[in-house]
C-alpha cells in the first residue's frame, strides 16, 4: 500500500509540475466556456428559450457536458500514455527499483484518477457556470407563469447526473491503464484506447439495452447515453427529459467493479512483462 501512495504522490507532483497539465486545464475550461457561450447566444436569438426564469441552467448543462466530453478523452489519453510512456522513458524502471511493486504502479495511478476527475469536473463546471450566469439566474424554470422545476429540484438533478458520471469516468481511466499495460508503445496505447472507446460509442446504439452493462455508457460522449445527455433536456424543462432510477442505479453500480476488473487485468499483464 505504501508503494501505491508513493506512486500517487509522485504522479500528482509530476502533473502539477508539467506545463501541459495547465495547458490542458485551460483548454477544458475554454471549451466549457465557449459551449456555454454558444448556448447563451442560441437562447437569446429567435426561437430561443421559452422560459422566463432560470436561464442559466441550460448553458451550464451544455458547457459542463462539453467540457466533460473532452475531459473523458483527456483522462483516457493520460491513462493510456502513463504506463506505456513511462516504460519508454525509463520512469517505470525507476519506480520498480525504488519502492513500488508492479501492482502499486497501477493502483497508485488508479488512486490518482479521482483527483483528476474532481479537478476536471470542478474546472469545467466553474467555467461553464461563470459564462451561464451571463444568461440569467439559477432560479426555477418558469414557463408562462408555471414553474416547471424548482431551483432545488434542478440542483438535485445536476448533482445526481454528476454523481452518476463519476464511476464511469474512473472506469474510463482504468480502461486506459489496461491498454497502457498491454501496448508496446505510448503512441500505440493512446491509439488503442481512443479507438476502443470511440468504437464502442459508434456501436452502442446497436447493442440496445445491453450497452448499459458497459461503463462507457455512463460517461458523457459525443453519442451520449449518460445521465448528462438527459440533463441538458432537464435544464431546458423538456417534459420528456430525465433519467430513470434504473439508469441512475446502474450508472452508480456498474462502472466501479468494471474499473477494478480492468485494473486487475492490467496488473496481470504488467507482472508478466519485462521492463
Amino acid at each position: 500500500m505504501k508503494g501505491s501512495w508513493l506512486i500517487l504522490r509522485a504522479e500528482l507532483a509530476r502533473l502539477v509540475w508539467t506545463r501541459s497539465t495547465w495547458v490542458t486545464g485551460l483548454l477544458l475550461a475554454a471549451l466549457s466556456a465557449l459551449r456555454a457561450l454558444a448556448s447563451v447566444a442560441a437562447s437569446a436569438g429567435p426561437g430561443g428559450a421559452s422560459v422566463s426564469s432560470g436561464h442559466a441552467w441550460a448553458p451550464l448543462a451544455d458547457g459542463w457536458r462539453a467540457g466533460l466530453v473532452l475531459g473523458v478523452l483527456v483522462l483516457l489519453t493520460y491513462s493510456a500514455r502513463s504506463i506505456a510512456g513511462d516504460r519508454e522513458t525509463g520512469v517505470l524502471r525507476l519506480a520498480i527499483t525504488r519502492s513500488a511493486t508492479r501492482g502499486a504502479v497501477i493502483w497508485g495511478r488508479l488512486m490518482l484518477a479521482p483527483i483528476m476527475i474532481v479537478a476536471i469536473v470542478t474546472l469545467t463546471g466553474l467555467s461553464a457556470a461563470t459564462v451561464a450566469l451571463r444568461a440569467g439566474d439559477f432560479g426555477p424554470l418558469v414557463e408562462d407563469g408555471y414553474e416547471l422545476l424548482s431551483a432545488s429540484e434542478l440542483r438535485e438533478e445536476f448533482t445526481l447526473g454528476l454523481l452518476a458520471s463519476l464511476p464511469g469516468l474512473w472506469a474510463t481511466f482504468a480502461l486506459g491503464l489496461l491498454i497502457s499495460c498491454m501496448a508496446r508503445s505510448a503512441t500505440g496505447a493512446v491509439a488503442g484506447a481512443l479507438g476502443t472507446f470511440l468504437a464502442f460509442d459508434l456501436f452502442k446504439d446497436a447493442l440496445g439495452d445491453a450497452r448499459f452493462a458497459v461503463f462507457a455508457s455512463y460517461v458523457p460522449t459525443l453519442a451520449d447515453s449518460s445521465p448528462w445527455g438527459e440533463l441538458t433536456g432537464v435544464a431546458r424543462g423538456f417534459s420528456d427529459a430525465g433519467f430513470s432510477d434504473a439508469l441512475l442505479r446502474s450508472a452508480l453500480t456498474v462502472p466501479a467493479p468494471e474499473a477494478l476488473l480492468l485494473a486487475g487485468l492490467g496488473w496481470l499483464v504488467l507482472i508478466r512483462r519485462s521492463l
Binding site: R9, R14, G85, T89, G90, R98, S99
Partner: protein
C-alpha cells in the same frame, strides 16, 4: 554480507539463451564489474537482478531480498540504465525531486548535494528533454545518488560521457565505494574499469566465463616476456614443452611485440609458462643453446584477460575481440 547473489540464473527468450546458469556473488563494499561483449547477457543479468525481468529459473537475492521483491529494499538500491531516464516536461531538479518522492523517505544525500557531486548543479533549472546524452546520464546518476543507496547498479554508465565526464564519474564512484556503497557496473571501457573495480565477472554468450577478485584473476595469468638470441628456435623449443604456450599473436593479450626484430637476431617472445618457473624456462632455453638476454614477468591487463577469454570462447570472432580492446 552479500549485496547480490544469483544462483543458477537462467533466462531464455524462446529458443535463445539470454543467460545460462549464471551464479554471481557480490559482497558488500565491492566495486564489481560485469563484463562481456554485446549480447553476452550483462543487461539481462542486471534486469533480472533488479526485478525488471523474470528469470526462467534460478534464484536472485538483492540485499537479502528476492529480486521480485526489490521494493522491500526501500530506496537502498539505486540503478542507472544505459538509456537514461527523462521525465518529459520536468526540469532536472524536478526530476530529482520526482525520484526522491518515489524513494519515499527523507534523509541522506540532498538533491543539491547529488547535483553538486555529479557536476550537474548548473543544469538544475534546465528541462531534461533538452540535455545531451552525457548530461542526461550524469543527471540519472545524480538521481540515483539521492538519499543514501547501499547498492548502486550502473548499466554502461561511461558510454556517452566525454573524457572529463568519465574521470569525474570514476572519482565519484571511488568516493562512494570508500563510503561503503556497493557498486555493480557493466561497461565496455575496460581500461577505465580496471582502475576502478575490485572484482569482475565476465559473461560470454550468456555463460559465466570468469569471476573473482581482479587481482587474483590477473595474477593467475601472469605472462613472461623473453628476449632471446634466436626467437624462432626458442618458440619451437618452448612450444614442445607441456603447459607452455607461446603466444603467437601478442596483440591478442596486449603485451608488446613478439616478432623477430629485423635488424638483429635478438627477438622477443611472450608466453604463458603455465606452472613452469622462470628459472625452468631459462634452463630449457640455455640447454638448447639459446642465449637468454632477458626474462621478466608481465602483468596481464583486464583488456588482455577479457580478449583472451573471448578468443578462447567457442564461436568467438576476432571482430568481437577487437571491438572491446
Amino acid at each position: 554480507m552479500t549485496a547480490l547473489l544469483t544462483d543458477q540464473l537462467t533466462r531464455r527468450f524462446g529458443d535463445v539463451i539470454g543467460v545460462d546458469r549464471v551464479s554471481l556473488s557480490v559482497e558488500r563494499g565491492q566495486i564489481f564489474g560485469l563484463l562481456g561483449p554485446n549480447g553476452s547477457g550483462k543487461s539481462t543479468t542486471l534486469a533480472c537482478a533488479l526485478g525488471l525481468m523474470r528469470p526462467t529459473s534460478g534464484r536472485i537475492e538483492l540485499l537479502g531480498e528476492p529480486a521480485q521483491s526489490i521494493h522491500r529494499t526501500r530506496g537502498r538500491v539505486a540503478a542507472v540504465f544505459d538509456e537514461p531516464m527523462r521525465v518529459k516536461g520536468l526540469t532536472v531538479r524536478q526530476q530529482l525531486r520526482y525520484a526522491a518522492t518515489l524513494r519515499g523517505h527523507a534523509g541522506g544525500r540532498s538533491i543539491d548535494e547529488a547535483l553538486e557531486l555529479t557536476g550537474c548543479a548548473s543544469l538544475a533549472r534546465r528541462p531534461v528533454t533538452g540535455l545531451s546524452l552525457g548530461q542526461c546520464k550524469r543527471v540519472a546518476i545524480a538521481s540515483a545518488l539521492g538519499g543514501r543507496p547501499e547498492l548502486l547498479v550502473l548499466d554502461e554508465p561511461l558510454s556517452g560521457l566525454d573524457p572529463v565526464g568519465v574521470r569525474d564519474l570514476l572519482d565519484t564512484l571511488r568516493a562512494l565505494a570508500q563510503a561503503e556503497v556497493t557498486i555493480i557496473l557493466s561497461s565496455h571501457r575496460l581500461h577505465e574499469l580496471e582502475r576502478l573495480v575490485s572484482h569482475v565477472a565476465i559473461l560470454l554468450g550468456g555463460h559465466l566465463a570468469a569471476q573473482g577478485a581482479l587481482k587474483d584473476l590477473l595474477g593467475s595469468r601472469t605472462r613472461h616476456r623473453i628476449r632471446v638470441s634466436d626467437p624462432g628456435r626458442a618458440r619451437d623449443v618452448l612450444g614442445r614443452v607441456e603447459g607452455v604456450e607461446c603466444l603467437a599473436d601478442p596483440h591478442q593479450v596486449g603485451m608488446g611485440e613478439a616478432d623477430q626484430r629485423a635488424d638483429s637476431s635478438i627477438g622477443e617472445l611472450t608466453l604463458d609458462a603455465g606452472d613452469h618457473t622462470p628459472g625452468a624456462l631459462n634452463q630449457m632455453l640455455v640447454e638448447a643453446g639459446i642465449q637468454v638476454h632477458e626474462l621478466q614477468p608481465v602483468a596481464v591487463s583486464l583488456a588482455a584477460l577479457f580478449n583472451e577469454l573471448v578468443a578462447a570462447a567457442p564461436g568467438s570472432v576476432a571482430a568481437s575481440s577487437e571491438e572491446h580492446s
